[in-house]
Structures are given as structure tokens and as C-alpha cells.
């Protein structure tokens, strides 16, 4: 490793200060070209998703819901038929960038709208699962020895985690989503509620190890309140594996949503997600292959980006793998 050049470039001063842990992690992360390209893809995606939300719902430039029956099944980059489409229904520039679907809706507009929905499903589901995981794992790692009647907190929470691990996850999600009324929020919540177990276990293991460390013992000796010890001193030190599993979890949630859409239990119309565009596009794989390939490849690229970034983070945040 050419340490000196890198840290010099970072500091930009004559006398480079020592690297902060964050800078060190970034330096290792940057080295991994796959992870870096994943990060770029994700940055573009987040911008696209925000733009999609703005342009399809607030300032409607691309209307994903406009039905133009004369223009159905047009391949990408086809111009509109100006004689048949009223001016109010024309897409920007008069060209369907990604073609149209079976109802003549603009696939580009639908993909834009879907990018926000798909991403928010991923982020909110993972947000729920990480919150539950940190709370339960932290409780059982920090207050594990407290007795509640006969059994300790640790036993109680870990048995509950074991119970949740025994459910076949996808089958459980499918059951609950199918029985509940169809709604995008139910899907987020159900995916979140069924995927926190790994996080809880990580956090518990980290907390058990951290509790014995000198800096925590010192903080306790100083008489700091427990909430401060937990949230200021222990959580930041335990967050690395959580961050990694959260990144990979977003990828998993997007895939799960597309699987649910495939089985007909995903986000219901008129909302477009990449999953349900793909699921409805499979009927036209011969006649209009772009309806199938565009969302499929989009999901593939984004999920791949999340997985690569997660793996890059794992390398960058794991102190044991450093300096090799």
C-alpha cells in the first residue's frame, strides 16, 4: 500500500494529521473498484429516485398513469404518433425513451416512479429491521443478566429470536401479505418484521464483547448514565456489522418485493415498482421484450450494486482484515 501518498492527498497540508477511522475506512473502500462502482450506481439511483418522485408526482413532467391506447407496445426510442395522441398526453420531447407497455403507458415514467417506490421499500424495511435488531440485541447484550422472574432478559430475547428463525421467511411473508389487505406499507412492515434476527444476533455478540472492554468499564466507573454509555460509546462501536448487513438487506428487500410481485402479492396498481413492471412484463416476453428486460436488468444492477457496496463496507470496516 502506498500509505503516504494517500494520506497526503487526504490532508492537503504540509504536515498530515493522523487518519480518522472514517478516512481509513474510505481509503480501504476506495481500493475496491467493484464496490466503488457500486457506490456510484447507488448515488445515481438515489438521484434518479428523487427526480422520479418529483417529476412523476409533484411537477408532473412524466406521467406514468397516462393511457395512450394507439401507442401501445412501442419499442424504446419510438416517436409518438402525433395525429392520435392529444398534446397533453405527449411525453417529453415526443419520444418514448424506454418504449410503452400494453396500455401505452410510458415505461420510462413508470420506471422513474418505480425507482422511488422500490428504493423506499428497501430502505424502510431495512430501517425497521435494523431498529428492532439493535434494540433487542442491545437489550439482551447489555441487560442480559437482569432477571425477569425465572428467566433472564437474554434468554427471553434470544429464545424469541430462535422462534422467529424457525419460520420459513419467504413463506411467512407471503402468508401475512396475502392475508392482509394489499398495501405498500404492509409489505415494508412485514419484510422489516421478519428480517431483524441476524442484526439482533450481531449486536448482541458485539455488546457482550464491548461490555468487557476498558473504555466501557471506564465510562461506567465515571458514573455516566447508562443511556449515554449505550448510545454514545457502545452503539457506534457495534454498528459496523449492522451497516454491512443493512446494505445487503436492502438488496434482499428489493428482491423479495419483486418475488412477491411475481406471485401477485406485491405492490398493487396504480403504483409502479420495478417488481410489478417485471411481473406484468413477463407475459409479453416475445412480443415486447423491453417490458421484461428493462425492469429485470434494472433490478439486477441495483441489487448487485447494493451487494458490492455491502461487501466493500465489510472489508473496509473489519479491523481484522486491514493492513493485509
Amino acid at each position: 500500500m502506498t500509505d503516504s501518498t494517500h494520506s497526503g492527498a487526504f490532508a492537503g497540508e504540509s504536515e498530515p494529521p493522523p487518519e480518522t477511522p472514517l478516512q481509513e475506512a474510505w481509503r480501504i473502500f476506495r481500493r475496491d473498484r467493484l464496490a466503488l462502482s457500486g457506490l456510484i450506481v447507488l448515488a445515481v439511483l438515489v438521484m434518479l429516485a428523487v427526480a422520479g418522485k418529483v417529476l412523476t408526482e409533484w411537477v408532473v413532467v412524466f406521467d406514468p398513469a397516462t393511457v395512450r391506447l394507439p401507442d401501445k407496445f412501442l419499442p424504446p426510442f419510438s416517436p409518438i404518433s402525433p395525429a392520435l395522441i392529444p398534446a397533453a398526453h405527449q411525453p417529453l420531447g415526443g419520444v418514448y425513451l424506454l418504449g410503452t407497455d400494453e396500455l401505452g403507458r410510458d415505461v420510462f415514467a413508470r420506471m422513474l416512479q418505480g425507482s422511488f417506490v422500490s428504493l423506499s421499500i428497501g430502505f424502510i424495511a431495512v430501517g425497521i429491521s435494523v431498529t428492532i435488531g439493535i434494540i433487542l440485541g442491545g437489550l439482551s447484550g447489555f441487560y442480559g443478566n437482569v432477571k425477569l422472574g425465572l428467566i433472564s432478559v437474554d434468554t427471553l430475547i434470544m429464545r424469541f429470536t430462535d422462534i422467529m428463525l424457525c419460520f420459513p421467511t419467504f413463506f411467512l411473508i407471503l402468508t401475512v401479505v396475502a392475508l392482509l389487505p394489499p398495501s405498500i406499507y404492509n409489505i415494508m412492515i412485514v419484510i422489516g418484521l421478519t428480517s431483524w434476527m441476524a442484526t439482533a444476533r450481531f449486536v448482541r455478540a458485539e455488546f457482550l464483547a464491548l461490555r468487557e472492554q476498558d473504555f466501557v468499564v471506564a465510562a461506567q466507573a465515571l458514573g455516566l448514565p447508562e443511556s449515554r454509555i449505550i448510545f454514545r460509546h457502545m452503539v457506534p462501536n457495534a454498528i459496523a456489522p449492522v451497516l454491512v448487513s443493512a446494505t445487503i438487506g436492502v438488496a434482499g428487500a428489493i428482491l423479495t418485493e419483486s418475488g412477491l410481485s411475481f406471485l401477485g402479492f406485491g405492490v398493487q396498481p396504480p403504483y409502479a415498482t420495478w417488481g410489478n413492471i417485471l411481473a406484468s412484463g413477463r407475459g409479453f416476453i416475445f412480443d415486447a421484450p423491453w417490458l421484461f428486460f428493462i425492469p429485470g436488468l434494472a433490478i439486477f444492477i441495483v441489487v448487485l450494486a447494493f451487494n458490492l457496496v455491502g461487501e466493500g463496507l465489510r472489508e473496509a470496516l473489519n479491523p481484522r482484515l486491514r493492513n493485509r
Binding site: C166, F262, L304
Partner: protein, 320 residues
């Protein structure tokens, strides 16, 4: 040892009861009942609905329904709401259909991911390692049904064989050799497709295990005393790297139910996952709950088996 076994089994029985209670309440408390599957039917009068509810004990309190379900399951008299067939034989038939698919997929996963993972770990940073790493990520990230549709299209175009379902309709009277070829064609594509994610995950896991072990002191010692590289890798490192995978045998069986829904749906394979899917659509509570119960039992049995296997394989671990 025996004390450990007894305690582990008792613990798991308690867990199983709690799991079945949770599953029971989730399924029954969610809105929607089997009696409401067809609300648009004008012939369904309120008294008919009441009769259906009474026949399925749906008008009783939840706790009583749970006891009924448990009793019927134990005596084997549990009947499906949908067609009044006994549930256990129904599940057993579907299980037998799922089994070849599962065995085939597992064989593919294990026989491909170990060599790949080991090779990638030995040649860390080489083009081979980087290629397999990228391919593994690609395999994890691709939506299974997207790839399956492409595969179906490709296989049918190229080889001109039908592959949807378990066998081709009308082949019952063909020569045994043709029948077997037909079965094989129908089996190969779905098992490869359901194996793909598994290959990616397992080969990554094997690679990281191998990397972990190669850095250990005993491997350095083996090198230092001048053993040939093959002997170091395959006799000293590999054996220790394999330890965690012994336990994975225990977790194989639950996978039979979990991930198969989508693939069985795509390939119209009449297996367990598809039975579960149909049961969910029809609000067939006994079937949903029994499949869930069996999955939980298999998982718990799997963890027990893996604990025992671990203790047998690794002398550093004592059961207590």
C-alpha cells in the same frame, strides 16, 4: 451427553409449541376467512356462511380452535378446508414431488461451490478469484424468476424440449428410456435455477472460511516443516475449514419448504411450496399451519443435528 440431548429436545418442544401458537394467531387474526373467499357469490346466504363456520369450528374462541387443530394434527384427522382431504397425506404426496428437485439442487450446489470456493481462496486476488467473486455477486443479485424465464426460453429454443411441469403430458405409454429422458429434462432446469443463489452464497462462504484457516498458525507450521503445498491445503487447512459446513447438513431440510415457492410456481412443479401458495390463496388454514409446523419442526431438528454433528466433528467442543 444424554442430559444434553434430553434438555435440547425438551427446549425445542417448548419452542415448537410457542411457534405453532404464534403461527396460529397470525393466520387466524389476519382479516379474511375461508368462508369469505367467494363473497360475490349470490347463492351464499348468511346461514350458509354460519354453517361453514360451524363446520370448520371458526365460530369458536381462538384457544379452542387451537386445541382442535392440535388434536386433529396429532390423530392425523386434520382435513383441508378446501377439499376436505386429509392434510398429512396431501402434504406427503407434494413432499415426494419436491424431493427430487431438492436433492438435485443440493447436489449441484455442494458439488460446484466447494471446488470454486477453495480454488478462489488458494489463488486469492487472481483473475479466477475475481471472476468467480463477480459471478457470485451476479448470481445473488439476479431475480430468480427473471433468470428462469430466460433459461426456459433458451432451453426450449435450443433443444426443443418441453420443460414445464414434472413430465410431458401423454408420455405415459412411451418407452421407459424416453420417459426417463423426459423426466430428466423436466428436472434439470428448475434444479439448476433454484441452485444458482445457493452456489453463489456457499462458494463465497467456503472461500472466506478457507482464507480464515489459511492464516492460522498450524498451517504456517505445516508449511514450515516443509510439507508439499497440496498436503498443506488439502490435509491441514481444508479439514478445518470444512468444520462449519458439517453443521450445514442440519439446515438443509428446512430449505425444502422455504425457497421453493417461486421456482415451483414458474415451472408448474406440483411440490410443497406450490401447495403452500395454493393454500394461502384459498385461505386453507389447516394446510398453511401444518406446512409451517413441519418447517419449524425440521428447522429445530436441523439445529439439534448440527449441534451434535459439530460436537462429533470438532473435539474442541463439548456438549453440556
Amino acid at each position: 451427553m444424554w442430559v444434553f440431548l434430553l434438555r435440547a429436545i425438551l427446549q425445542r418442544l417448548v419452542l415448537l409449541v410457542v411457534i405453532s401458537m404464534i403461527a396460529f394467531s397470525i393466520v387466524h387474526l389476519a382479516p379474511g376467512e375461508p368462508s369469505e373467499v367467494d363473497p360475490a357469490n349470490p347463492r351464499m346466504k348468511p346461514e350458509d356462511i354460519a354453517r361453514i363456520r360451524a363446520a370448520f369450528h371458526l365460530d369458536e374462541p381462538l384457544s379452542v380452535q387451537y386445541v382442535y387443530w392440535l388434536r386433529d394434527l396429532a390423530t392425523g384427522e386434520l382435513k383441508s378446508f378446501k377439499d376436505s382431504q386429509p392434510v398429512l397425506p396431501k402434504i406427503w404426496r407434494r413432499f415426494l414431488n419436491s424431493l427430487p428437485l431438492f436433492i438435485c439442487a443440493t447436489l449441484i450446489v455442494w458439488s460446484l461451490s466447494f471446488p470454486t470456493g477453495i480454488q478462489a481462496a488458494i489463488q486469492r486476488g487472481s483473475p479466477f478469484d475475481r471472476t468467480t467473486t463477480f459471478v457470485a455477486y451476479a448470481f445473488i443479485s439476479i431475480p430468480g424468476f427473471f433468470l428462469s424465464y430466460l433459461a426456459i426460453q433458451w432451453v426450449v429454443d435450443l433443444f426443443n424440449v418441453p420443460i414445464i411441469g414434472m413430465r410431458t403430458f401423454g408420455m405415459e405409454n412411451a418407452q421407459p428410456a424416453f420417459r426417463w429422458m423426459d423426466r430428466l429434462w423436466h428436472l434439470v432446469v428448475p434444479s439448476v435455477m433454484s441452485a444458482i443463489a445457493g452456489i453463489a452464497i456457499l462458494s463465497r462462504y467456503v472461500r472466506s472460511q478457507m482464507l480464515e484457516v489459511v492464516r492460522q498458525d498450524y498451517v504456517r507450521t505445516a508449511r514450515a516443516k516443509g510439507l508439499p503445498e497440496e498436503s498443506v491445503i488439502y490435509r491441514h487447512a481444508l479439514r478445518n475449514a470444512l468444520l462449519p459446513f458439517v453443521t450445514m447438513f442440519g439446515f438443509l431440510l428446512p430449505g425444502l419448504i422455504g425457497g421453493s415457492v417461486i421456482f415451483e410456481q414458474i415451472f408448474a412443479w406440483p411440490g410443497l411450496g406450490r401447495l403452500g401458495y395454493e393454500a394461502i390463496l384459498a385461505r386453507d388454514f389447516p394446510v398453511i399451519l401444518t406446512i409451517n409446523f413441519i418447517a419449524a419442526t425440521l428447522t429445530l431438528a436441523g439445529t439439534l443435528v448440527s449441534d451434535i454433528l459439530y460436537a462429533v466433528a470438532d473435539p474442541r467442543i463439548r456438549l453440556q
